[in-house]
Amino acid sequence: MAHKPASPDTLAKYLLLNAERFKGRPSMRHKDYGIWQSWTWDQQCEEVRAFSLGLQAIGFKRGDRIAVIGTNRPRLYWTFIAAQALGGVPVPVYADSVAEEMAYVLDHAEVKYAVVEDQEQVDKLLSVAGDVPRLTEIIYDEPRGLRDYDHTHLHNYAQVRAKGLEILEREPNAAVRFEAEVAQGSGSDLGVMLYTSGTTGRPKGVMLSNESLVRSALNGNRFDNLSENENVIAYLPLAWVGDHVFSVAQAHTAGFCVSCPESQETVNEDRREIAPTYFFAPPRVFETLLTQIMVRMEDAGRIKKKMFDYFLAHARKVGEPILDGKTVGLKDRLLYSLGEFFVYGPLKNRLGFSRLRVGYTAGEAIGPELFRFYRSIGLNLKQLYGQTEACVYITAQPDGGIKPETVGLPSPEVEIRIAENGEVMYRSPGVFMGYYKNDEATRETKTPDGWVHTGDAGFLDSDGQLRIIDRAKDVGKLADGSLFAPKYIENALKFFPEIKEVVAFGHEREFCAAFINIDLTAVGNWAERNNIAYASYQELAGHPRVYETIAQHVAEANRKLAAEPLMAGSQVRRFLVLHKELDADDGELTRTQKVRRSFIADRYGELIEALYDGSSEKYVETQVTYEDGRKGIIRATVRIEDAEVFPYDSPVMEAAE
C-alpha cells in the first residue's frame, strides 16, 4: 500500500481512504430497472480505478480537461474522481444547455474529453464539433441509438472501463501505478471548473482547487454533524456547485451514500423510498411540494381535511419553538405529539422527509410562510447563503438559532466584512482560485488578499447573523451618507396585503419617499365591506379612507425600520398612492413583474419632484396602453402625504475592517 498522508487533500485520496475505512458500506445507489442497485466504497473505488486506467489508455493525461454532461448517474459522478485521480480537471456542463452554449463553455475550458449521458448529448457535441477543435474523444454511458455511429473517437463507457480492467489483469503493477497517480495530486491543484450560468454576459469558469473543495466540505460536515450514516438523493444539476459539494465533495469526505434517481420524473417517488437524512433544494422545490399536498388535501374527505387544518394550525403555533428546543407547555406538547401521529408524520413520509435531519434551502430567498410551514411540522429546514466562488458556504443558519429574515452565521473558517458601500465580502479556505482565462473579472471580484465581493448588500445583526438586503448595485446613499436600500424598504411595505407594489426613492436625496400601488383585490374587498363605492382603480386609489389605511401601514413599516440601526435613516417620510397600476404593458414592470426603477423615475419625474418639494397635491397626465394596444391618457390629481417617522439613534457606520 502506498503511503497515505494523515489528512487527504484531494477527493481521490479520500476515495482510497474510504475504500478501507468504509469497506462494505454503501457509497452509491442508482435505481435502474425498478430496483435500487448499490455499490460499496470498495466497489466504487474499483469502478473509478478501472475507468481511470481506461481513460489513461485512450490518452488522457495530467492537466487534461474532461467535460461531464448529463443527469445524476453513478458513472458521471465516478468520472469526476477518475479524472481527478489522474490529475485531470472535470468540467461539468448543464445538460439542458443548447449546443451553442455548450460549445462556448467547452471551447473556453479547452476540453479534450467528454463523458456524456446518452445519444442526445453526443448529437449535441457532434453538431458543434467544428467550434470545439480540441475536443477529440467522446465517451457515452447509455448506448441506445449510438450503435451505427462511427466509433473512431466515440467510446462506450463500458468498453473504456473494460479496457481498464484488462490492464489491471495484464499488468501486475497497474494498481500501484494508479495509487501513485493519486498520490501525485495535491491540494493546491485545480480540482474542478464550474461555469456560472451568469444572467449577464458569457458564463465564467470558476476554478476551485482540490483543497478548497475538501476543506469547505469538511467544514460543512462539521457544522451539521454529517457522518457516513447520512443518505442523500442527487437530483440537482451536476454543473451546479451545490450538487458538486453535496453529492461529491461532502459524500467523499464524510463517506455517506449518494442515491441517483431512476429518471428526472421519478425524483419524488425515489426520494420517498430513500428518505434522505440530508437534503438540499432551491425554494421552488419546497413550493411545488407544498402545492401538491394542498391540492391533494382539497380532494380529501371532510374529516381528514378538518384534522389536517386543525393540526397544521397547532403546528404553526408551537411547532417551531418545539423544533428549536424552547419551553412549551405540556398540553401543547401532547397535542403536538398527537398531531405528529395523525398528520405531521404521514405528511413527512409522503414528502420523503421521514428521516430528514438537516434540510437546506438556498439559491434565492424563500418566502417566510413557506419556510415556517416546513419548520412547523418538525423539519429542520435552514437557509444557506453561498456562491460558486466560495465552494457554496458563506453563511448558514445554525440549528436552534434560526431567524427567518437572516441567512445565518458565517460558516466555519469564513470571515465576513461589510464594505463601505454596504456590500458583503468574505474570505475563506473555499475561495476560488480565479476565473479561468479572465483576469479582469477575477480582479474585479477578488482582492489580492483574498476577499471576495458577493455583489449583495447586507449587514450583520446584533447576533452576528447576516442579513441580505439587496443587490449591491441597487443600493445607494441618502444625502447625509446613510445607506439607502430600496428593495428592503419596498419589501417592508409590500408585507401588507393592501400594498401591491412600491417604488422607493432616496438616492442622493434628503430623505426617503415612495410611490405606492394598492392591491385592487384586497382594497376592493375592504371597500365592499365598508360600503365604500368606487368606479375605478383611480378613484379607489385616491380615496381618503384608503390614504388613511396606507398611512398607517407606512407608519408601521417605519416603526420597524427605526429599530434597525442601519435602516432607520431611510424611513419613508412622504408617500403618494399612484393613480394607476404599474403595468408591464406600459414598460413600468418587466415581464417577470419586477419594477423598472429608472424607467419609472423618468416617466413620473414630476411626481417625484412633488414628493420632495413639499407640495400636497400634483396634477399629472399619464399615457397608458390598453390590453388591445390602444393608447389613452389618464388625468389625475395625486395627493401627497407625510408619514409618521420614529426617532432613532443616528447610525454608527461600521468601520470597514
Binding site: G145, Y149, D150, H153, S263
Partner: protein, 270 residues
C-alpha cells in the same frame, strides 16, 4: 471529426429475406369488397408502411395479417409457412404482435401490469403453480418482470410504472400499448396508426421509439399511418392502397412522385 456512419451504407440491408408475403389476397364482407387482389411483402428488419385515404382497406389488411379476418382468396406466407386462416392468438404464438387504432389497454391496471399481461402468453407454468405463486411460477414471474423492466426502461416510462393507465394522457397510453406489444418479443410488429391524435412532440417521441425498436431490437415493423411526413421519414418502403386496391409500392420517394398516389390523396376531377 466525423463520427456518424455514412447514411448511405446504413440504409443497405444485408438481409433481404422476406418475412411476410401476402399474395393475391381478397376480402369481402357480404357484397362489400374491402380488399381486392392485393399482394405485398414485408422484408426482415424493415419498417414497412401501409398508407391510403380513409376506407382504403388499411386496417382490414392489418387484420388479415394478424389473423383476425380470414380472406376469401389468396395466401399468406409468414416465416416461410403458408396459412389461410389463423386465430389471433395463434398469430401471437407465431411472433406477430400489434397495437390498435383506439388504445386497447386495461384501464384500471397499472402500466407495469399491462405490459406484464403482454408476457402472459409466454408463461409456461401450469395454472396450479401460478395460483400458488411459489417455486417455478415465482421464478418465472421474476424472469418476466426483468424483461418488462427492460421495456419500461427502453420506452422511458419509469415514472408511470405504478400509475393506472386510465389516468394517463393519451400519448403515454399509446406508449404503454407499444410496450405491451413489445413484451411479446414479436418478430413482426403491427402498428395501427401509432401517432393518431398526438401532438407534434408526442409524434416525435413516438417516431424515435419506433426507429429504436427497429434498430436496437431488430424488430420488423409494419405500420399504418395518416401523417404523411412521419411515414416518409420513418419507413423503408411504402405501399399505397385506395378503395381496397394497391395503387403503388416502393420507397418513400418513388411513392411520393407517383401520379396515382397524388390523385388518390388530392382527388382528380372526373
Amino acid at each position: 471529426m466525423n463520427m456518424r456512419a455514412d447514411p448511405e451504407t446504413m440504409q443497405v440491408r444485408e438481409d433481404n429475406d422476406i418475412l411476410l408475403d401476402v399474395r393475391n389476397v381478397s376480402l369481402s364482407f357480404g357484397g362489400v369488397k374491402a380488399i381486392t387482389d392485393i399482394s405485398l411483402n414485408v422484408k426482415q428488419g424493415e419498417i414497412r408502411a401501409i398508407i391510403g385515404p380513409n376506407g382504403a382497406g388499411k386496417t382490414s389488411m392489418l387484420n388479415v395479417i394478424n389473423g383476425f379476418y380470414t380472406p376469401q382468396e389468396g395466401t399468406i406466407i409468414f416465416r416461410g409457412k403458408e396459412r389461410r386462416s389463423m386465430k389471433p392468438h395463434e398469430a401471437v404464438g407465431q411472433g406477430i404482435a400489434r397495437t390498435f387504432q383506439n388504445v386497447a389497454l386495461f384501464k384500471g391496471m397499472s402500466t407495469l401490469d399491462n405490459i406484464m399481461a403482454g408476457r402472459s402468453v409466454m408463461m409456461k407454468r401450469n395454472m396450479l403453480w401460478q395460483m400458488l405463486w411459489q417455486g417455478p411460477a415465482l421464478n418465472e414471474e421474476i424472469e418476466h418482470r426483468e424483461k418488462v423492466e427492460e421495456i419500461i426502461d427502453f420506452l422511458e416510462i419509469q415514472h408511470i410504472r405504478r400509475t393506472p393507465v386510465g389516468k394517463l394522457p393519451y400519448g403515454l397510453q399509446k406508449r404503454v400499448e407499444l410496450g405491451r406489444a413489445l413484451a411479446m418479443e414479436p418478430s413482426l410488429l403491427l402498428l395501427d396508426e401509432p401517432m393518431a391524435g398526438m401532438n407534434l412532440e408526442e409524434k416525435e417521441d413516438m417516431s424515435r421509439f419506433i426507429i429504436d425498436v427497429n434498430q436496437q431490437r431488430g424488430t420488423t415493423i409494419a405500420l399504418i399511418e395518416h401523417d404523411m411526413g412521419v411515414v416518409m421519414d420513418l419507413s423503408d418502403r411504402v405501399v399505397v392502397l385506395d378503395y381496397g386496391k394497391k395503387i403503388a409500392d416502393g420507397t418513400p420517394d418513388e411513392v411520393k412522385n407517383n401520379q396515382d398516389v397524388i390523385d388518390a390523396y388530392l382527388g382528380v376531377p372526373h
